[in-house]
C-alpha cells in the first residue's frame, strides 16, 4: 500500500465536509462538518510529514487542533446565543437582514 492512500481518504473527507457545510441546515451539524474538514487537513499534514520524513507537518497539525478547539468554543457560544434569542439552531432562520 502506498502512503499516498491516506491523502485520498483525506481529500474524500474534506469534500464530504464541504458538502455538509453547504447542504445541512442545523448550525451544529454545519459545525461538525467544518471540524471534519479540519480533521481531513490534519490527516494530510500527518501523511506529508511521514512522506517527507520530518516533524513539521505534525507540529502544523497540532496548531490546527488548537485553532479548531478555539473555533468550537466561540462558535458554539454563538449558536447558544442565537438559540437563546431566536429559539432555533437552523442557519436559515437567522436571516433578519434580508427582510
Amino acid at each position: 500500500m502506498n502512503a499516498a492512500n491516506y491523502l485520498y481518504i483525506s481529500a474524500l473527507l474534506f469534500t464530504i465536509g464541504a458538502v455538509g457545510v453547504v447542504v445541512r441546515r442545523n448550525a451544529i451539524v454545519v459545525f461538525m462538518c467544518i471540524e471534519l474538514m479540519l480533521n481531513a487537513a490534519n490527516l494530510s499534514f500527518v501523511t506529508f510529514s511521514r512522506i517527507n520524513g520530518d516533524l513539521d507537518g505534525q507540529v502544523m497539525a497540532f496548531f490546527t487542533m488548537v485553532v479548531a478547539a478555539c473555533e468550537v468554543v466561540v462558535g458554539l457560544a454563538i449558536i447558544v446565543t442565537i438559540y437563546r434569542s431566536r429559539r432555533s439552531a437552523s442557519v436559515d432562520d437567522a436571516s433578519l437582514l434580508k427582510r
Binding site: M1, N2, A3, A4, N5, Y6, L7, I9, A11, L12, L13, F14, T15, I16, G17, A18, V19, G20, V22, V23, R25, N26, I28, V29, F31, M32, C33, E35, L36, N39, N42, L43, V46, S49, R50, I51, G53, D54, D56, Q58, V59, F62, M65, V66, V67, A68, A69, C70, V72, V73, L76, A77, I78, I79, V80, T81, Y83, S88, A89, S90
Partner: protein, 263 residues
C-alpha cells in the same frame, strides 16, 4: 522467508489491512453524517471518524497527535458538541428539505468536481514518490521530536496560539454572559403574586405530573379533583418536544358518574 526490506514507498502489510478496513468505514461514517436526520446521530458518526483518524495518526508514527486526537477531539470537542445539542435539544432534528431551490444538485456536482480534481491531482503529484518515513525523525521519541520543533522553530507561532486560546476563552465568556434587564423577583414577591393573583389555583404550587392510580409517568398531566387534566403539571420542555401523552384518554369524568349511578 520473511521479507525484511519494504519496497520503495510501500508500507507494511498489517497497515494496509488496517487501512482498507478502517478507511472505507470512515468515509461511510462521514457520508452518514450528511444523511442522518438527527444531529445526535451525526455527532456519534463524527466521533467514530475522529477515532479512526486517531488510529491513522498512530499508524503513521504520529503517536502524540493520535493521543491528542482522542483526548481533545473525541474527549473534549465532541462532548462540547453533545452538551450544546442537549441545550438546544428541542428542535435538534433537522428538516432535510431544500430551502434554496437547486442547492443540493449544485452542491453534489461541485463536490464531485472538487473531489475528482483533488484525487487526480494527488495521483499525479505523489504517485512514484518514495516515502522517507519518520524513523529517523522519531529517533529520540515522537513527543521529544515535536517538543524540539515546537520550542525552537515554532516558538513564536506557539505564543500566538496561546494568545488565541485566551481570546477564545474571553469571547466565549462574553457571549455566554447576559445582563438582567428586570429586577429578579424575591421569594416574598413571588409569594404575594401567588396569593393576590386572579385565582388561587396555583397557590400551593403547580400540581405534579402523573395520573392517580392509572398512570404515574412525568409525561402525563395530573388529574385535578374534578377529573379534568391539568396541562400545567407537565414540564414545558416535554410539551415543546412533543413527548407529552394525550391526556384525553385519562379524563375520568365519565367513569365517576357511572360509579355514582351504581350506588
Amino acid at each position: 522467508m520473511m521479507q525484511l526490506a519494504l519496497e520503495v514507498g510501500q508500507t507494511a502489510q498489517p497497515e494496509a489491512i488496517m487501512f482498507w478496513i478502517l478507511g472505507p468505514m470512515a468515509v461511510v461514517a462521514a457520508l452518514g453524517m450528511l444523511l442522518v436526520k438527527k444531529a445526535v446521530h451525526s455527532a456519534i458518526l463524527m466521533a467514530f471518524v475522529m477515532v479512526v483518524l486517531a488510529i491513522f495518526y498512530i499508524a503513521q508514527d504520529a503517536v502524540f497527535l493520535g493521543i491528542v486526537q482522542v483526548v481533545v477531539y473525541t474527549g473534549a470537542v465532541m462532548m462540547l458538541f453533545l452538551f450544546i445539542l442537549m441545550l438546544v435539544g428541542v428542535d435538534s432534528s433537522d428538516s432535510l428539505t431544500e430551502t434554496i431551490a437547486g442547492l443540493r444538485p449544485i452542491a453534489i456536482t461541485a463536490a464531485v468536481g472538487f473531489g475528482g480534481l483533488m484525487v487526480s491531482l494527488l495521483g499525479r503529484a505523489t504517485l512514484g514518490r518514495q516515502a522517507i518515513g519518520l524513523s529517523a525523525a522519531n529517533a529520540d521519541g515522537n513527543v521529544q521530536g515535536i517538543a524540539k520543533e515546537l520550542f525552537s522553530t515554532y516558538v513564536f507561532p506557539f505564543e500566538v496560539v496561546s494568545a488565541l486560546l485566551i481570546t477564545a476563552a474571553m469571547g466565549a465568556m462574553v457571549l455566554a454572559h447576559h445582563q438582567r434587564t428586570t429586577v429578579r423577583p424575591t421569594q416574598r414577591q413571588l409569594s404575594i403574586n401567588r396569593f393576590r393573583g386572579e385565582s388561587l389555583g396555583s397557590a400551593a404550587g403547580l400540581p405534579g405530573p402523573g395520573v392517580y392510580a392509572r398512570h404515574n409517568a412525568v409525561d402525563v398531566p395530573a388529574l385535578l379533583p374534578d377529573g379534568t387534566p391539568a396541562p400545567t403539571s407537565v414540564n414545558a420542555s416535554l410539551e415543546a418536544r412533543g413527548d407529552m401523552l394525550d391526556y384525553k384518554s385519562f379524563d375520568l369524568s365519565e367513569v365517576n358518574t357511572q360509579i355514582e349511578e351504581e350506588k
